[in-house]
Symmetry: C2
Protein backbone atom coordinates (compact mmCIF):
# COMPACT_ATOMS: atom_id res chain seq x y z
CA UNK A 1 0.00 0.00 0.00
CA UNK A 2 1.49 3.30 -1.06
CA UNK A 3 0.95 6.26 1.27
CA UNK A 4 0.45 9.53 -0.62
CA UNK A 5 -0.81 11.86 2.09
CA UNK A 6 0.18 12.54 5.68
CA UNK A 7 -2.16 14.33 8.06
CA UNK A 8 -0.59 16.09 11.02
CA UNK A 9 -2.23 17.34 14.15
CA UNK A 10 -0.98 20.77 15.29
CA UNK A 11 -1.34 21.40 19.05
CA UNK A 12 1.15 19.33 21.06
CA UNK A 13 2.27 17.57 17.89
CA UNK A 14 3.97 20.47 16.10
CA UNK A 15 4.10 22.99 18.96
CA UNK A 16 3.29 23.30 22.67
CA UNK A 17 -0.34 23.85 23.62
CA UNK A 18 -1.50 21.92 26.67
CA UNK A 19 1.39 23.37 28.67
CA UNK A 20 0.05 26.87 27.97
CA UNK A 21 -3.44 25.82 29.10
CA UNK A 22 -1.96 24.31 32.28
CA UNK A 23 0.06 27.44 32.95
CA UNK A 24 -3.08 29.56 32.62
CA UNK A 25 -5.01 27.12 34.76
CA UNK A 26 -2.38 27.44 37.51
CA UNK A 27 -2.68 31.19 37.25
CA UNK A 28 -6.46 30.84 37.62
CA UNK A 29 -5.95 28.63 40.70
CA UNK A 30 -3.68 31.26 42.24
CA UNK A 31 -6.14 34.06 41.51
CA UNK A 32 -8.95 32.11 43.18
CA UNK A 33 -6.85 30.62 46.00
CA UNK A 34 -8.30 32.86 48.72
CA UNK A 35 -11.85 32.03 47.65
CA UNK A 36 -11.97 28.30 46.97
CA UNK A 37 -10.00 25.06 47.43
CA UNK A 38 -7.91 24.11 44.36
CA UNK A 39 -9.60 20.69 43.99
CA UNK A 40 -13.05 22.24 44.09
CA UNK A 41 -12.05 24.85 41.55
CA UNK A 42 -10.51 22.31 39.16
CA UNK A 43 -13.47 19.95 39.38
CA UNK A 44 -15.89 22.79 38.65
CA UNK A 45 -13.78 24.15 35.78
CA UNK A 46 -13.75 20.69 34.15
CA UNK A 47 -17.52 20.47 34.57
CA UNK A 48 -18.13 23.92 33.07
CA UNK A 49 -15.73 23.26 30.18
CA UNK A 50 -17.42 19.96 29.41
CA UNK A 51 -20.87 21.52 29.54
CA UNK A 52 -19.80 24.37 27.25
CA UNK A 53 -17.92 22.25 24.73
CA UNK A 54 -20.90 21.68 22.49
CA UNK A 55 -21.58 25.43 22.46
CA UNK A 56 -18.09 26.94 22.43
CA UNK A 57 -16.10 24.19 20.72
CA UNK A 58 -12.34 23.96 21.24
CA UNK A 59 -9.95 26.82 21.78
CA UNK A 60 -8.81 29.68 23.95
CA UNK A 61 -11.89 31.92 23.71
CA UNK A 62 -14.20 29.20 24.99
CA UNK A 63 -11.71 28.32 27.72
CA UNK A 64 -11.56 31.96 28.83
CA UNK A 65 -15.36 32.18 28.95
CA UNK A 66 -15.47 28.92 30.94
CA UNK A 67 -12.95 30.25 33.49
CA UNK A 68 -15.08 33.37 33.98
CA UNK A 69 -18.22 31.29 34.30
CA UNK A 70 -16.54 28.98 36.83
CA UNK A 71 -15.42 31.95 38.92
CA UNK A 72 -18.99 33.30 38.88
CA UNK A 73 -20.55 30.00 39.87
CA UNK A 74 -18.16 29.31 42.72
CA UNK A 75 -18.60 32.76 44.25
CA UNK A 76 -22.38 32.95 43.89
CA UNK A 77 -21.88 35.66 41.24
CA UNK A 78 -19.72 37.61 43.67
CA UNK A 79 -16.31 37.12 42.10
CA UNK A 80 -14.15 40.21 42.59
CA UNK A 81 -14.13 42.17 39.34
CA UNK A 82 -10.35 42.46 39.36
CA UNK A 83 -10.29 38.73 39.04
CA UNK A 84 -12.40 38.82 35.88
CA UNK A 85 -10.05 41.38 34.37
CA UNK A 86 -7.13 39.07 35.21
CA UNK A 87 -8.81 36.09 33.56
CA UNK A 88 -9.45 38.16 30.42
CA UNK A 89 -5.80 39.18 30.37
CA UNK A 90 -4.68 35.56 30.83
CA UNK A 91 -6.84 34.53 27.85
CA UNK A 92 -5.39 37.27 25.68
CA UNK A 93 -1.87 36.22 26.62
CA UNK A 94 -2.65 32.66 25.53
CA UNK A 95 -3.66 34.03 22.13
CA UNK A 96 -0.42 35.94 21.72
CA UNK A 97 1.89 33.31 23.20
CA UNK A 98 4.95 32.74 20.99
CA UNK A 99 4.83 29.61 18.84
CA UNK A 100 7.91 27.48 18.46
CA UNK A 101 8.06 24.11 16.70
CA UNK A 102 8.74 21.15 19.02
CA UNK A 103 12.17 19.47 18.73
CA UNK A 104 12.59 17.57 15.47
CA UNK A 105 9.44 18.96 13.86
CA UNK A 106 11.03 21.19 11.24
CA UNK A 107 13.42 18.53 10.05
CA UNK A 108 10.81 15.76 9.98
CA UNK A 109 8.30 17.89 8.04
CA UNK A 110 10.93 19.07 5.57
CA UNK A 111 11.84 15.44 4.88
CA UNK A 112 8.21 14.26 4.70
CA UNK A 113 7.20 17.07 2.36
CA UNK A 114 9.57 15.64 -0.28
CA UNK A 115 7.59 12.40 -0.51
CA UNK A 116 4.05 13.09 0.70
CA UNK A 117 1.32 15.69 0.58
CA UNK A 118 1.23 17.13 4.08
CA UNK A 119 -2.13 18.26 5.45
CA UNK A 120 -2.51 20.04 8.77
CA UNK A 121 -5.68 18.88 10.53
CA UNK A 122 -6.55 20.66 13.75
CA UNK A 123 -9.38 21.68 16.04
CA UNK A 124 -9.54 25.01 17.86
CA UNK A 125 -10.31 28.63 17.10
CA UNK A 126 -10.06 29.26 13.36
CA UNK A 127 -8.15 32.55 13.52
CA UNK A 128 -5.87 31.46 16.35
CA UNK A 129 -4.82 28.25 14.61
CA UNK A 130 -4.06 30.16 11.41
CA UNK A 131 -2.02 32.66 13.38
CA UNK A 132 -0.08 29.91 15.15
CA UNK A 133 0.72 28.20 11.86
CA UNK A 134 1.93 31.52 10.42
CA UNK A 135 4.05 32.19 13.52
CA UNK A 136 5.53 28.66 13.42
CA UNK A 137 7.07 29.23 10.00
CA UNK A 138 5.87 25.76 8.95
CA UNK A 139 3.02 26.91 6.70
CA UNK A 140 4.86 26.46 3.40
CA UNK A 141 5.37 22.75 4.04
CA UNK A 142 1.64 21.96 3.94
CA UNK A 143 -0.43 21.60 0.79
CA UNK A 144 -3.60 22.21 2.81
CA UNK A 145 -4.79 23.29 6.23
CA UNK A 146 -8.07 22.01 7.62
CA UNK A 147 -9.32 23.59 10.83
CA UNK A 148 -12.28 21.50 11.91
CA UNK A 149 -14.84 21.66 14.69
CA UNK A 150 -14.56 17.92 15.46
CA UNK A 151 -12.25 15.09 14.50
CA UNK A 152 -14.26 11.98 13.77
CA UNK A 153 -13.96 9.28 11.12
CA UNK A 154 -16.02 11.28 8.62
CA UNK A 155 -13.68 14.26 9.08
CA UNK A 156 -10.68 12.16 8.05
CA UNK A 157 -12.55 10.56 5.15
CA UNK A 158 -13.51 13.98 3.82
CA UNK A 159 -10.12 15.62 4.31
CA UNK A 160 -8.06 12.76 2.83
CA UNK A 161 -10.46 12.51 -0.12
CA UNK A 162 -10.23 16.24 -0.77
CA UNK A 163 -6.49 16.72 -0.39
CA UNK A 164 -5.10 13.28 -1.12
CA UNK A 165 -6.07 9.98 -2.66
CA UNK A 166 -8.40 8.78 0.07
CA UNK A 167 -7.97 7.59 3.65
CA UNK A 168 -6.64 4.14 2.62
CA UNK A 169 -3.53 5.84 1.22
CA UNK A 170 -3.13 8.29 4.08
CA UNK A 171 -1.52 8.30 7.51
CA UNK A 172 -2.49 10.54 10.42
CA UNK A 173 -0.03 11.57 13.09
CA UNK A 174 -0.82 13.23 16.40
CA UNK A 175 -0.71 13.16 20.19
CA UNK A 176 -4.38 12.44 20.92
CA UNK A 177 -5.62 8.84 20.82
CA UNK A 178 -9.18 10.07 20.88
CA UNK A 179 -8.99 12.72 18.15
CA UNK A 180 -6.03 11.82 15.95
CA UNK A 181 -5.64 8.05 16.13
CA UNK A 182 -8.91 6.19 16.70
CA UNK A 183 -11.08 8.09 14.18
CA UNK A 184 -8.32 8.04 11.53
CA UNK A 185 -8.05 4.25 11.90
CA UNK A 186 -11.82 4.01 11.72
CA UNK A 187 -11.73 5.96 8.46
CA UNK A 188 -9.31 3.40 7.04
CA UNK A 189 -6.11 5.42 7.34
CA UNK A 190 -2.83 4.50 9.05
CA UNK A 191 -2.14 6.31 12.30
CA UNK A 192 0.95 7.07 14.35
CA UNK A 193 0.65 8.20 17.94
CA UNK A 194 3.36 10.49 19.25
CA UNK A 195 2.67 11.13 22.91
CA UNK A 196 3.18 14.58 24.39
CA UNK A 197 4.17 14.99 28.01
CA UNK A 198 0.76 16.40 28.97
CA UNK A 199 -2.70 15.52 27.74
CA UNK A 200 -6.06 17.20 28.24
CA UNK A 201 -8.34 14.79 30.11
CA UNK A 202 -10.94 15.11 27.33
CA UNK A 203 -8.51 13.65 24.77
CA UNK A 204 -7.54 10.50 26.71
CA UNK A 205 -8.44 7.11 25.22
CA UNK A 206 -6.96 3.61 25.19
CA UNK A 207 -4.42 2.69 22.55
CA UNK A 208 -5.68 0.35 19.79
CA UNK A 209 -3.12 -2.32 20.74
CA UNK A 210 -2.22 -4.72 17.97
CA UNK A 211 -4.07 -2.78 15.27
CA UNK A 212 -2.32 -3.50 11.95
CA UNK A 213 -2.38 0.13 10.81
CA UNK A 214 -1.31 1.67 14.12
CA UNK A 215 2.09 2.59 15.51
CA UNK A 216 3.32 4.23 18.69
CA UNK A 217 6.33 6.43 17.99
CA UNK A 218 8.61 8.07 20.53
CA UNK A 219 9.16 11.17 18.42
CA UNK A 220 8.10 12.82 15.18
CA UNK A 221 11.65 12.14 14.01
CA UNK A 222 10.66 8.46 13.73
CA UNK A 223 7.75 9.22 11.39
CA UNK A 224 9.62 9.21 8.04
CA UNK A 225 11.13 5.77 8.71
CA UNK A 226 7.79 4.31 9.81
CA UNK A 227 6.10 5.60 6.65
CA UNK A 228 8.89 4.22 4.47
CA UNK A 229 8.39 0.86 6.15
CA UNK A 230 4.75 0.79 5.05
CA UNK A 231 5.54 0.93 1.33
CA UNK B 1 -18.88 34.22 -19.82
CA UNK B 2 -20.44 31.17 -18.26
CA UNK B 3 -20.87 31.22 -14.47
CA UNK B 4 -20.31 27.78 -12.90
CA UNK B 5 -20.08 28.61 -9.21
CA UNK B 6 -22.04 30.84 -6.86
CA UNK B 7 -20.61 31.86 -3.50
CA UNK B 8 -23.08 32.86 -0.82
CA UNK B 9 -22.45 34.71 2.40
CA UNK B 10 -24.36 33.33 5.38
CA UNK B 11 -25.05 35.88 8.15
CA UNK B 12 -27.70 38.41 7.08
CA UNK B 13 -27.75 36.90 3.59
CA UNK B 14 -29.28 33.50 4.38
CA UNK B 15 -30.45 34.13 7.94
CA UNK B 16 -30.65 36.92 10.55
CA UNK B 17 -27.48 37.77 12.44
CA UNK B 18 -26.89 41.48 13.01
CA UNK B 19 -30.36 41.76 14.56
CA UNK B 20 -29.33 39.22 17.19
CA UNK B 21 -26.13 41.17 17.93
CA UNK B 22 -28.17 44.39 18.23
CA UNK B 23 -30.67 42.73 20.53
CA UNK B 24 -27.83 41.56 22.78
CA UNK B 25 -26.21 44.97 22.62
CA UNK B 26 -29.47 46.56 23.79
CA UNK B 27 -29.58 44.07 26.62
CA UNK B 28 -26.02 45.05 27.53
CA UNK B 29 -27.01 48.75 27.45
CA UNK B 30 -29.91 48.04 29.80
CA UNK B 31 -27.69 46.04 32.18
CA UNK B 32 -25.19 48.89 32.34
CA UNK B 33 -27.72 51.74 32.29
CA UNK B 34 -27.31 52.63 35.96
CA UNK B 35 -23.53 52.76 35.60
CA UNK B 36 -22.79 54.57 32.35
CA UNK B 37 -24.38 56.69 29.61
CA UNK B 38 -25.49 54.64 26.57
CA UNK B 39 -23.36 56.67 24.13
CA UNK B 40 -20.26 56.23 26.26
CA UNK B 41 -20.90 52.51 26.55
CA UNK B 42 -21.45 52.03 22.82
CA UNK B 43 -18.38 54.03 21.87
CA UNK B 44 -16.23 52.01 24.25
CA UNK B 45 -17.69 48.69 23.11
CA UNK B 46 -16.87 49.56 19.48
CA UNK B 47 -13.33 50.49 20.51
CA UNK B 48 -12.80 47.27 22.47
CA UNK B 49 -14.29 45.14 19.67
CA UNK B 50 -12.07 46.79 17.11
CA UNK B 51 -8.98 46.36 19.26
CA UNK B 52 -9.79 42.68 19.87
CA UNK B 53 -10.70 41.82 16.30
CA UNK B 54 -7.18 40.81 15.30
CA UNK B 55 -6.99 38.54 18.36
CA UNK B 56 -10.51 37.16 18.63
CA UNK B 57 -11.65 37.29 15.02
CA UNK B 58 -15.36 37.35 14.18
CA UNK B 59 -18.16 35.70 16.10
CA UNK B 60 -20.15 35.46 19.29
CA UNK B 61 -17.41 34.27 21.66
CA UNK B 62 -15.18 37.23 20.89
CA UNK B 63 -18.16 39.59 21.16
CA UNK B 64 -19.03 38.16 24.58
CA UNK B 65 -15.44 38.61 25.78
CA UNK B 66 -15.45 42.17 24.44
CA UNK B 67 -18.67 43.02 26.30
CA UNK B 68 -17.14 41.73 29.55
CA UNK B 69 -13.94 43.67 28.92
CA UNK B 70 -15.91 46.85 28.18
CA UNK B 71 -17.89 46.48 31.40
CA UNK B 72 -14.62 46.06 33.31
CA UNK B 73 -12.96 49.07 31.73
CA UNK B 74 -15.88 51.42 32.25
CA UNK B 75 -16.28 50.51 35.90
CA UNK B 76 -12.58 50.57 36.79
CA UNK B 77 -12.73 46.79 37.24
CA UNK B 78 -15.66 47.22 39.63
CA UNK B 79 -18.47 45.87 37.46
CA UNK B 80 -21.06 44.09 39.61
CA UNK B 81 -20.49 40.36 39.24
CA UNK B 82 -24.17 39.70 38.50
CA UNK B 83 -23.68 41.74 35.40
CA UNK B 84 -20.86 39.49 34.18
CA UNK B 85 -23.05 36.46 34.70
CA UNK B 86 -25.79 38.17 32.67
CA UNK B 87 -23.37 38.94 29.82
CA UNK B 88 -22.23 35.30 29.77
CA UNK B 89 -25.85 34.18 29.61
CA UNK B 90 -26.59 36.64 26.79
CA UNK B 91 -23.63 35.23 24.81
CA UNK B 92 -24.81 31.68 25.30
CA UNK B 93 -28.29 32.64 24.14
CA UNK B 94 -26.83 34.09 20.95
CA UNK B 95 -25.16 30.73 20.30
CA UNK B 96 -28.41 28.83 20.72
CA UNK B 97 -30.68 31.31 18.96
CA UNK B 98 -32.97 29.56 16.46
CA UNK B 99 -31.93 29.86 12.83
CA UNK B 100 -34.53 30.48 10.18
CA UNK B 101 -33.81 31.19 6.50
CA UNK B 102 -34.69 34.74 5.39
CA UNK B 103 -37.69 35.12 3.05
CA UNK B 104 -37.04 33.74 -0.42
CA UNK B 105 -33.78 32.03 0.51
CA UNK B 106 -34.90 28.41 0.32
CA UNK B 107 -36.57 28.84 -3.05
CA UNK B 108 -33.71 30.83 -4.56
CA UNK B 109 -31.08 28.32 -3.40
CA UNK B 110 -33.13 25.35 -4.59
CA UNK B 111 -33.37 26.97 -8.02
CA UNK B 112 -29.70 28.00 -8.14
CA UNK B 113 -28.48 24.58 -7.05
CA UNK B 114 -29.89 23.13 -10.30
CA UNK B 115 -27.54 25.21 -12.44
CA UNK B 116 -24.55 26.16 -10.30
CA UNK B 117 -22.21 24.80 -7.66
CA UNK B 118 -23.20 26.63 -4.49
CA UNK B 119 -20.46 27.39 -1.99
CA UNK B 120 -21.15 28.90 1.43
CA UNK B 121 -18.42 31.39 2.35
CA UNK B 122 -18.63 32.88 5.81
CA UNK B 123 -16.62 34.38 8.65
CA UNK B 124 -17.34 33.75 12.33
CA UNK B 125 -16.85 31.00 14.88
CA UNK B 126 -16.23 27.68 13.15
CA UNK B 127 -18.50 25.53 15.30
CA UNK B 128 -21.28 28.13 15.51
CA UNK B 129 -21.44 28.63 11.75
CA UNK B 130 -21.59 24.87 11.19
CA UNK B 131 -24.35 24.60 13.75
CA UNK B 132 -26.33 27.43 12.15
CA UNK B 133 -26.04 25.83 8.73
CA UNK B 134 -27.25 22.52 10.15
CA UNK B 135 -30.15 24.23 11.92
CA UNK B 136 -31.12 26.15 8.77
CA UNK B 137 -31.79 22.95 6.83
CA UNK B 138 -29.95 24.45 3.84
CA UNK B 139 -26.78 22.36 4.15
CA UNK B 140 -27.66 19.86 1.41
CA UNK B 141 -27.85 22.59 -1.22
CA UNK B 142 -24.16 23.47 -0.94
CA UNK B 143 -21.31 21.51 -2.52
CA UNK B 144 -18.87 23.08 -0.09
CA UNK B 145 -18.73 25.21 3.04
CA UNK B 146 -15.78 27.50 3.70
CA UNK B 147 -15.59 29.15 7.10
CA UNK B 148 -12.76 31.65 6.84
CA UNK B 149 -11.04 34.04 9.23
CA UNK B 150 -11.02 36.91 6.72
CA UNK B 151 -12.66 37.63 3.38
CA UNK B 152 -10.17 39.25 1.05
CA UNK B 153 -9.44 38.84 -2.66
CA UNK B 154 -7.08 35.91 -2.03
CA UNK B 155 -9.81 34.13 -0.05
CA UNK B 156 -12.16 34.26 -3.04
CA UNK B 157 -9.44 33.24 -5.49
CA UNK B 158 -8.60 30.21 -3.36
CA UNK B 159 -12.19 29.15 -2.66
CA UNK B 160 -13.42 29.52 -6.25
CA UNK B 161 -10.34 27.69 -7.55
CA UNK B 162 -10.86 24.86 -5.09
CA UNK B 163 -14.60 24.38 -5.44
CA UNK B 164 -15.33 25.77 -8.89
CA UNK B 165 -13.60 26.75 -12.11
CA UNK B 166 -11.91 29.89 -10.85
CA UNK B 167 -13.08 33.35 -9.83
CA UNK B 168 -13.67 34.52 -13.41
CA UNK B 169 -16.51 32.00 -13.69
CA UNK B 170 -17.92 32.66 -10.25
CA UNK B 171 -20.35 35.09 -8.65
CA UNK B 172 -20.42 36.08 -4.99
CA UNK B 173 -23.59 37.20 -3.26
CA UNK B 174 -23.89 38.84 0.16
CA UNK B 175 -24.93 41.80 2.26
CA UNK B 176 -21.51 43.26 3.06
CA UNK B 177 -19.85 45.57 0.52
CA UNK B 178 -16.60 45.30 2.42
CA UNK B 179 -16.42 41.53 2.84
CA UNK B 180 -18.59 40.01 0.11
CA UNK B 181 -18.53 42.43 -2.81
CA UNK B 182 -15.31 44.44 -3.10
CA UNK B 183 -12.83 41.58 -2.53
CA UNK B 184 -14.80 39.22 -4.81
CA UNK B 185 -14.69 41.82 -7.60
CA UNK B 186 -10.99 42.30 -6.94
CA UNK B 187 -10.49 38.55 -7.32
CA UNK B 188 -12.14 38.74 -10.75
CA UNK B 189 -15.54 37.33 -9.82
CA UNK B 190 -19.00 38.80 -10.38
CA UNK B 191 -20.72 40.12 -7.26
CA UNK B 192 -24.31 40.85 -6.27
CA UNK B 193 -25.06 42.96 -3.23
CA UNK B 194 -28.27 42.21 -1.38
CA UNK B 195 -28.62 44.75 1.42
CA UNK B 196 -29.89 43.67 4.82
CA UNK B 197 -31.82 46.11 6.98
CA UNK B 198 -28.97 46.41 9.51
CA UNK B 199 -25.24 46.43 8.97
CA UNK B 200 -22.35 46.20 11.42
CA UNK B 201 -20.33 49.42 11.19
CA UNK B 202 -17.18 47.38 10.50
CA UNK B 203 -18.67 46.03 7.27
CA UNK B 204 -19.71 49.34 5.72
CA UNK B 205 -18.05 50.41 2.45
CA UNK B 206 -19.02 52.38 -0.66
CA UNK B 207 -20.69 50.58 -3.55
CA UNK B 208 -18.48 50.05 -6.64
CA UNK B 209 -20.84 52.14 -8.81
CA UNK B 210 -20.71 51.36 -12.51
CA UNK B 211 -18.50 48.30 -12.09
CA UNK B 212 -19.24 45.96 -15.02
CA UNK B 213 -19.34 42.82 -12.85
CA UNK B 214 -21.41 44.29 -10.01
CA UNK B 215 -25.14 44.37 -9.35
CA UNK B 216 -27.31 45.66 -6.54
CA UNK B 217 -30.30 43.38 -6.01
CA UNK B 218 -33.34 44.03 -3.85
CA UNK B 219 -33.72 40.42 -2.80
CA UNK B 220 -32.06 37.02 -3.13
CA UNK B 221 -35.11 36.10 -5.25
CA UNK B 222 -33.62 38.28 -7.99
CA UNK B 223 -30.33 36.38 -8.04
CA UNK B 224 -31.27 33.54 -10.47
CA UNK B 225 -32.47 36.01 -13.13
CA UNK B 226 -29.36 38.19 -12.79
CA UNK B 227 -27.10 35.16 -13.16
CA UNK B 228 -29.05 33.96 -16.22
CA UNK B 229 -28.60 37.41 -17.72
CA UNK B 230 -24.79 37.07 -17.49
CA UNK B 231 -24.63 34.02 -19.75
Amino acid sequence: MRITTVGLDADDTLWHNEGIFRFTQDRFLALMAHLVEPEVLMARLREVEKRNLRLYGYGVKGFTLSMIETAMELTGNEAPSRLIAEILAAGREMLTHPVEPLPGVEQALAELSQDYRLVLITKGDLLHQEQKLAASGLGELFVAVEIVSEKDASTYERVFARHGTGAAQAAMCGNSMRSDILPALEAGAYAAHIPYELIWEHEVADAPKGHPRFAELASISDLPAWLRGLS
